[in-house]
Each structure stands twice: as C-alpha cells, then as structure tokens.
C-alpha cells in the first residue's frame, strides 16, 4: 500500500513538474484579470496566451504540447466572456504557425525573435478580428484588437525572460530538448 502511495505521489509530482509552464501561464492569465484599471481601464491588458504560444513553440515545444495550448485557450475562454473555443483556436493557430516557421526563429537574436513575435502577433490579431466578426456576424471594430496586439508586443520582452527562466528550470541542458 505504501509502495502504491509512493508511486502515486511520484507520478503526481512528475505531472505537476511537467505541467509547470502551463500552470504558471494559466495562473498569470487569471491574475491578469485583477481590475487594476490601467490608463483609466480603456487600454486592454496583454494577451499572455499569445506570448506563451509563440515562446514555447520556438524554444521548447516539448514542454508545452498542443494539449497545453488548447487548455490555455479554454482557460482564457472561461475567464473572458467570449464564445467557447475561440481563444483555443487562436492560440493553436499561433502555436501551429510558429512551429511551422520555427526553423527561422531558432538561433535569432532577441531583437529578431521580438520582430518575429510582432509579425505573428499582427497575424494573430487579424485572425482574431476575422474570426470574431464571423462569429458575431458583423464587422467588429478592430481598434481594440490591434491595440491589445501592440500592448502584447510591448510586454513580450518582459514576459519572455520569465519563460526562459522557467525553461532553464525545466531542463538545465538545452541540447536535450
């Protein structure tokens, strides 16, 4: 019995360790809902899910598999009042696109990766606008969507180093990724 319990604890501990990038990002997303009303409340907060999808697709897709991206999108769908599945689709699209272009991002300088994120974020905001307009059956004013993309791009250099620390914690040998 004690052996079984020990095995279960080890299994849970490993699962928790492996899920750390997802759990940390999901917790950050929930905490970012705190009503701080920056700039009078009319400047949207950054979309941490897009940053996570891009970063982990470039640097360590093995640590953030599609299931984690999907779950992150569902968390965002639960948090925001929007239609279910919406952010899951957007995050998976960002993840898939970045993964397909990963060969161009690996080995770039910080500035290069940042510019890459700006491009991917821009495409993601266009996809968000088109998908939202399709769902609501009318043209959504795109201003706030692009404003959020700009805020997210500005915040990316602050968030990415935190993800990088997490990545180092997860594996001290990048070659083993």
């Amino acid at each position: 019995m004690s052996d079984l319990l020990q095995s279960v604890i080890i299994l849970l501990g490993r699962a928790l360790f492996v899920s750390m990038p997802f759990l940390a990002t999901a917790l950050a997303m929930v905490l970012s809902m705190v009503p701080v009303n920056l700039f009078g409340g009319w400047v949207p907060g950054p979309d941490l899910g897009i940053i996570a999808a891009f970063f982990w697709a470039v640097y360590a897709p093995a640590l953030f598999p599609p299931a984690a991206i999907f779950s992150l999108g569902i968390v965002q769908d639960f948090c925001s009042g929007g239609p279910f599945g919406f952010w899951a689709i957007i995050y998976l699209a960002v993840y898939g696109f970045t993964l397909s272009q990963r060969v161009f991002f690996i080995g770039r300088t910080v500035m290069g990766v940042w510019l890459g994120f700006v491009a991917v974020g821009g495409l993601a905001s266009i996809a968000t606008w088109l998908l939202a307009s399709t769902i609501y059956n009318r043209w959504i004013p795109p201003g706030e969507i692009f404003l959020q993309a700009a805020v997210t791009a500005i915040v990316f250099p602050l968030i990415a180093p935190l993800f990088m620390i997490l990545r180092r914690v997860m594996t001290t040998a990048p070659e083993r990724l």
Binding site: V30, L31, M33, V34, P35, V36, N37, G40, G41, W42, P44, G45, P65, P66, A67, I69, F70, G73, I74, Q76, F78, C79, S80, G81, G82, P83, F84, G85, F86, A88, I89, L92, Y95, G96, L99, S100, Q101, R102, V103, I106, G107, S125, T128, A132, I135, Y136, I140, P141, G143, E144, I145, L147, Q148, E175, R176, L177
Partner: protein
C-alpha cells in the same frame, strides 16, 4: 545544438507543414476547439453553467488577488490627492457653494412635486432593493467588455438585473453563479439597453460597439437629438427600473453617441438593482385609478405596455406609432410572452410604444437597503 541542426534539416526536408502530419495531437485539438465553438454557439447551456461554476470556484482567488490591487490603487489615488490637495480644495469649495444654492431650489421643487402627486393621486415608484458587490475581476477581452462581481444567486442576483455605480448605469447581469455574477458593460458589442432621451422624450436603444461612447439606435426617422440631452433607462421590457441615469448625448447627429456618466474608469464597487417587474402581456389592463389620466400609462406601473394598452404617442414623434385600439372590442390576444424579454437576443423595437412622460430617477428614490 545538435538537436537544432538535426531538427532543422528534418523540417526543411519535409516542408514547413511537416509538423501537421507528424503531430496528430495538434490536429485533434484544433478539431476539438472548433467543435466546442460550434457547440457553444448552438446555445448548449452546459458551457455557460460550467463557466459560472468555474467562476464561483475561482471567486476566492479573484477576491484574494483584487485586494492588493485595490490597495495599490487607493495608494495611487491618495498620492494624486496629496499632490493636488490645494486645487481640489478650491474646486470643492466652489462646488459646495453651487450645491448649496441648488439645494434651496431642490427643496422647493420636491415640495411642488409632492403636491402635484397628491393632487393627481399618482402612484409613486416602489423602492428598488439593491445588493452591493465588489468588482473582483475585469473579465474583458478585445471584443468583450464584462466584469465579475462577488455576488450571485445566494444574494438574490439574477440574469437581466441592472447594475449601477455611484454615477449611473454601468450594465446588466448576463450570468449568475451562486457567489459570482458576470456584468455586461454598456460598451460591450452585445449590449442593448432601452433608453429614453429626456427633453425630446424619444425612446431609443443604447447600443454598445466596443467604443467608449455607445450609440443611440432605432430613433425615429429624421429625429434630431440635441447634444447634451440626458439619457435615462426606460422600463420597456420590464427589466430596468425607469429613470436610471445613463449619460448625455455627445453629438448632435443622425447616429448620436452618448457620453456615459460612469466615465472612462471602471468602478470598484457596484450596486445590483433587484428590480422584479414581470412582463405579462396577457394580463388585463389595470383598472384606472380614480382621477388618473387614462390616456397615459399609469405612473409607477413598471411593466411594458400591453398590446391593448398601446396608445398613439401624441407627445412623442414616434414614426411607428399606430392608431389607438380598444381592448373591449378585440378578442383576447394569443399568448406571446410571459417573462422578461431575453436581452441576449438582438433587440427589435416594438411596433408602437406608449408615450411615457419623463419621470424622476428611481435611483434617487431607491431604498438604501443593502444586503
């Protein structure tokens, strides 16, 4: 970096979309996400129930996180006040002098109104109970403007109830769990609020479009709304109490926009009005009170006008007004609706609406009861 070189070569050889064919789990989750979105659009209530259950469960976390944020905000506001204490003091002195002058006028007007109500045997608006709640999460996105509050079914909160702050209407409840509720703000794309423009007595629908200034829609053709006119709620649909201040008309145009009283900031604390008027279009019109003006809707009757009770809007230039009909000469109508209108559906304006005279704001008369 050996892994990188090997992986890069592999990806280059197989093409950019090799990951799709080599990663079936990715495809599986894309299909799952699309299926969930389609299912949720098909109005399967299980998703909404799940969302409210999750929000209920996360309410303690939201509350915990909101407290330090509120503390920092108070510190910031305190610092601002400290830096501008002299100017603020001067401004408050001037405002105080102005309000004292207005107070005498107000007392006189209150006396007159009470006298007229007594003469007309007018029914006064029933006090509206309210529940105070704290905004615990700003659950907004780039095309969704909602907030979560820490009050739900347990406190008597229900879908459709109006939500106000100290300045005016901020939105309505769109979903309620046991301990939390989601408020759709007036600026949200899906927000539709029946309102009336005071002064010109025109009814309209305040339509959010994700901008700071919602628009007034379904106005009569050719109607001109003067800038600065006050916009308040109407009881049409039996959802909102009449007279809750919403804002002022910002521009004098064919599609006027409204400067909301709630301003650009978002409130920390709100009040949810437990207004319980029920729409029952099948019920017979109420007996007119002795001495009451029967051509107008009974004051205080906070229900939508019945089809039989619809009268021409003589005082209101409504383009869709219809001639009067007499209830006694018509067969009973088919049942149409016996519950409050579902405001989640796009609002379609009624074919004709009874003219409602400007009424005093019920918020001022609302009971201070706070559960």
């Amino acid at each position: 970096m050996a892994w990188d070189r090997k992986q890069r070569r592999k990806l280059s050889d197989a093409g950019n979309w090799a990951f799709v064919t080599s990663n079936l789990s990715f495809l599986f989750f894309v299909v799952l996400a699309v299926a969930i979105m389609i299912a949720s659009r098909a109005q399967i209530g299980i998703f909404d129930s799940a969302r409210e259950a999750v929000n209920d469960a996360a309410t303690p976390l939201y509350e915990l996180a909101a407290q330090p944020a509120a503390m920092f905000k108070r510190w910031g506001q305190g610092l601002d006040s400290l830096l501008s204490v002299y100017e603020e003091n001067q401004r408050l002195r001037e405002e105080n002098a102005r309000l004292l002058a207005k107070q005498n006028e107000l007392v006189e007007l209150e006396r007159k109104v009470a006298r007229y109500e007594d003469l007309l045997k007018a029914q006064t608006d029933a006090p509206v109970a309210s529940v105070a709640a704290r905004v615990i999460a700003d659950a907004s996105g780039p095309f969704v403007h909602t907030v979560l509050v820490n009050a739900g079914h347990d406190q008597g909160i229900a879908k459709g109830q109006a939500v106000v702050d100290e300045l005016g209407l901020i939105g309505r409840v769109i979903a309620s769990g046991n301990r939390s509720a989601r408020i759709l703000l007036l600026t949200d794309l899906n927000s539709r609020i029946p309102v009336m423009v005071e002064g010109v007595n025109l009814k309209a629908i305040l339509t959010g479009d994700n901008s700071v200034h919602p628009t007034l829609e379904y106005l009569p053709a050719g109607a001109r709304i003067p800038a600065g006119a006050r916009v308040v709620t109407t009881p049409d649909g039996g959802v909102f109490p009449p007279g809750i201040p919403v804002g002022v008309v910002a521009s004098d145009s064919r599609a006027p926009r409204v400067n909301l009283y709630t301003g650009e900031g978002r409130a920390d604390f709100v009040r949810i009005l437990r207004y319980t008027a029920q729409v029952d279009v099948n019920s017979a019109p109420a007996e007119p009170l002795p001495g009451a003006i029967t051509e107008q809707p009974a004051p205080g009757a906070a229900v939508a006008p019945t089809p039989e009770a619809v009268v021409p809007a003589a005082a209101v230039p409504t383009a869709q007004a219809t001639p009067p009909v007499h209830a006694t000469r018509r067969p009973p109508p088919k049942p149409k609706r016996t519950k409050p209108a579902n405001l989640d559906e796009p609002f379609s304006p009624p074919a004709a609406t009874a003219a409602a005279a400007p009424r005093p704001a019920v918020v001022q008369a609302a009971s201070p009861t706070t559960n």
